[in-house]
Amino acid sequence: MAQVAALIGQILIGIGLVFMAAGIYSVLRFKDFYSRVVITAKIDTVGFLTLIFGVMFIEGFSFFTLKLVLIVVFELLTNPISTHSIAHSAYASGYKIRKEVRVD
């Protein structure tokens, strides 16, 4: 049973890394500031949450898992604030949306 949970956990960590890799790829690929900001927010939320859930599955039910729950709650509270302040400062200083250039 513990081995199955560990396997699920490792698969979840893998999925989280896929999300992060896709985010980094698209930050390098897209040139517009606003699309980059939106994609960076995606890395932080989806990738990080999946990774933490994977670690929870591997660890099982313990104090460590409960601490991870606290970490998830603080992440959900603070992450949007940092993203918002970066995006807001760009908007306040008058950035315009640039048309994406397709590089195929």
Binding site: V38, P80, H88
Partner: protein
Amino acid sequence: MKRLLHYVRMMAVFAVIWVILEEQISIATVVVGALIGLAAMVGTDRYVLRADYQQAYPFGLVAGIRYVISLIVQIYVAGVQALYKVLTGTLHVGIVDVHTSLEHDFHVALLANSITLTPGTVTLDRQGKTLKVIWIDCVTTDPEEAGPLIKQNFEQLIAGSKR
């Protein structure tokens, strides 16, 4: 009386957090956690907020847990959609106005945070009850049409948590 009940409920929450941080369950840790929680709440009420904690942050405990779970589900649904959009390169970035019917400042802030957390949208600015949102897949710039697509069911969940 209601205020006392709120204090007791929040003290229980703080005691649980303290026990998690201390990593041992005993009467001493529970009592110390509850007392530190009480001190933190009284200090916040008197010196930082200068108002009632419950009125400044009107958010129920059970409703909060339900809200977090639905938020995580929403993050994953939108995350997979955004992943597809990013990998195929079909981005259509635009800025939309979104009107909200929420009254309390704290609820509007929660809504803005949820919009930012959902992949594909980031809140830029707020004027009164109107939020400016960057949208990665901007199919419409009309506030009435874009509102339900961006806000999902967050508004009902936040408004329902008023107690």
